[in-house]
Amino acid sequence: MAYEVTMPQMGADMTEGTLVRWLKKVGDRVEKGEVIAEIETDKANVELEAFHSGTVLALIAEEGQVVPVGEVIAYLGEPGEEVPTGKAPSVAAAPSRRRAPSTDGGAAPAAGAPAAEAAAPSAPAAGAMEAPSAAGERLRVSPVARRLAEEAGIDLSTLRGTGPGGRIVRRDVEEAIRARQAAPPPTAPAPTPAAAGAPPTATPAAEAVPTPAGARTEPLTRIRQAIARRMTQSKREQPHYYLTLDIDMTEALAFREALNATVPQDQRVTINDLIVKACAIALQRHPKFTASYSEEGLRYPSQINIDLGIALEEGLIAASLLDVGNKTLGRIAAESKALIERARGGRLRAEEYGSGCFTVTNLGAYGVETLIGIINPPQAAILGVGSVMPKPVVRDGQVVVRQIMKVALSADHRVTDGAEGARFLKEIQSLLENPASLAL
């Protein structure tokens, strides 16, 4: 049986992706887990791995083509096996009598030859207008749906169209309005643990206000749109509370120095690795901070993935370190380095794309003292990390210089309360101030 390879959904808000490059061609043997294509999403290039081993039977999507999530882009199977012909069917044949609108009459009959056309039912034009959003089309929205959504302040890109060809129609908007009214405050759609995320360190996107001289409007890039959408969603739906704390990093720096003295350059541990490890341990002890809020209840992930906010030239993205709860500091350090490299090269893998349950965002390298982040929905918290700076502090009655790092926890008040946040933050502090506990 031939296996379908479909456009993966990398993040809850991803609706389509661009097939950048095929790394395999028809007839190639592919092992499960092997990278077969590069996909570009709103925010990053990711590598698409095969879920099955087999021979590439057909490449349906072309390089450069924008493909809706879930559509077939290739088939794998045994050599010589039959695959369904033509493009992937995007909508199943409707069970009812609904059908594509006829397009007869759209073409003028050639002068003098109408009878010939009568004999041959003209079909060629049909389908063209009903084919669901195949390639890079704009969102299909009926005028009344667009107007109602605008009036109600509903983001059309969060809706799924149920009209012909996937068009967002009136009932879809009304459904969204009802859902929102039924459940104040509205929740982020979080159908899967994988939540796409622009990291929350971003400042609100400045709107281009038209002014008379020299003013201009620069179109939003996809990544900028995604950041704007998700940050707005977070601030609109997630009631944040904020806690800040000074962490004395003097011991941690010494610990890191000692560690790094024993390992080659490329295995060195960064301050951020220590923080991630500390967060991983703290999250295991305070699992509520891994949860995400939903109407039905708090959703807990099956493993602890931590997102790192990574600044790229195009904008910020959240890349996920996987299963950090079960990984040593050394492993975290190595994987983190590789992850950042892949993110910068636009080669993140699907599962590394915003699948975290918690985010660490660090602007320490820029000399920032305090960073108060915006939660990356649907996560419940984010830790903003500032620079490690030498500061005079009192120890045993003496003023001494210690290496101080300010951290800020932004947390979703629907999931946790301030006292829980304080305990969680204290745990991180305690781990970093007694760094030997991070070595395991």
Binding site: R98, A100, P101, G105, P143, V144
Partner: protein, 325 residues
């Protein structure tokens, strides 16, 4: 109130108006002794005499031209063109004289003329005798175009046509002549032009038709209600010029969907005009593109099966509606 066939209702209107206004007289092929090809004028010769019910030669341009001349001279003639297909022969008189004299004489000469004709396919009359040209006449400024779907409307609108000081193209669907319906007896029963009629109320889709297509729309609405739980609102335009688009727009604002049904061809037809007007006036209320259900883009076949396939059916209307959901 009496139950009359469409042809009887039309005859009632003619009789009442001729009794009321001695300036009214009738001209046409076989309308006198024979009583008219569709028996609309049967019996009028006996009551009003040869002066006022005049059989003419087979010369449509002459019939209409004589009517225009009489109208200019102070009469209010009605000319019957046996079918709309023959009106092509009189097109210059209709379009260049009847429709334009008022304008070209700077308002000095009006043409109070009623031109009646039978329209529509479905009777195995072949490609040259099965036209639906309501939309064609509606295209010309200077003409009023009336196309009733029910006996009562036929009477009220035809009587109203004789109160108009301009040329009225009065188009009857051949399939409707035998249609029965209650018709008011009141000699002053008039239906104003430019007033569409909501013949069935519904909330889910607006189906717009006129003349014969109103009945396809109504049958489709019944199927939709019984089998698909879709409540269609059906609007009978009644007159294409003047056009009551406001009623259509109001309805579309309620239903968010619109299907236009007509017997004419789709390309360049009147359904496209309705669709454009709905788009202009109710764009932000539309939940789907306006659909048109029209005749297939072919000359009308003679073969009965093919003719039915070429004409818009209630199933076509149902399909067009369901494709919007």
């Amino acid at each position: 109130m009496a139950v009359l066939r469409m042809r009887d209702a039309l005859r009632e209107a003619l009789r009442e108006e001729m009794r009321r206004n001695p300036k009214i007289f009738l001209m046409g092929e076989d309308i006198g002794k024979y009583g008219g090809s569709y028996a609309v004028t049967a019996g009028l010769l006996e009551e009003f005499g040869e002066e006022r019910v005049r059989d003419t030669p087979i010369a449509e341009s002459v019939i209409v031209g004589a009517g225009i001349g009489a109208a200019m001279a102070g009469y209010h003639p009605m000319v019957e063109l046996m079918t709309i297909n023959f009106s092509f022969l009189a097109l210059d008189q209709i379009v260049n004289n009847a429709a334009k004299l008022l304008y070209m004489s700077n308002g000095q000469i009006n043409v109070p003329l009623v031109i009646r004709m039978a329209s529509g396919g479905g009777s195995q009359l072949g490609a040259t005798h099965s036209h639906s040209l309501e939309g064609l006449y509606a295209h010309f400024p200077g003409l009023k175009v009336v196309c009733p779907a029910f006996p009562a409307d036929a009477k009220g609108l035809l009587k109203r046509a004789f109160r108009d000081q301009n040329t009225v193209i009065f188009i009857e669907h051949t399939a409707n002549y035998g249609l029965r319906g209650e018709v008011p007896d009141d000699p002053d029963f008039l239906i104003e032009f430019g007033q569409a009629n909501i013949v069935r109320e519904g909330r889910d889709v607006t189906i717009v038709g006129y003349s014969g297509s109103v009945h396809q729309a109504l049958r489709a609405a019944e199927i939709l209600a019984e089998q698909e739980e879709v409540e269609a609102e059906v609007i009978d335009l009644r007159t294409l010029r003047p056009l009551d688009i406001a009623t259509v727009v109001e309805s579309v604002k309620k239903t968010n969907r619109c299907v236009v049904v007509e017997d004419d061809w789709k390309f360049g037809g009147f359904a496209g005009e309705i669709a454009a007007l709905v788009m202009e006036h109710a764009f932000d209320w539309l939940d789907a593109p306006v659909a048109r259900v029209c005749s297939k883009d072919v000359p009308m076949p003679y073969n009965r099966t093919l003719e039915y396939a070429a004409l818009p059916s209630e199933e076509d209307v149902v399909d067009a509606v369901l494709a919007m959901f």
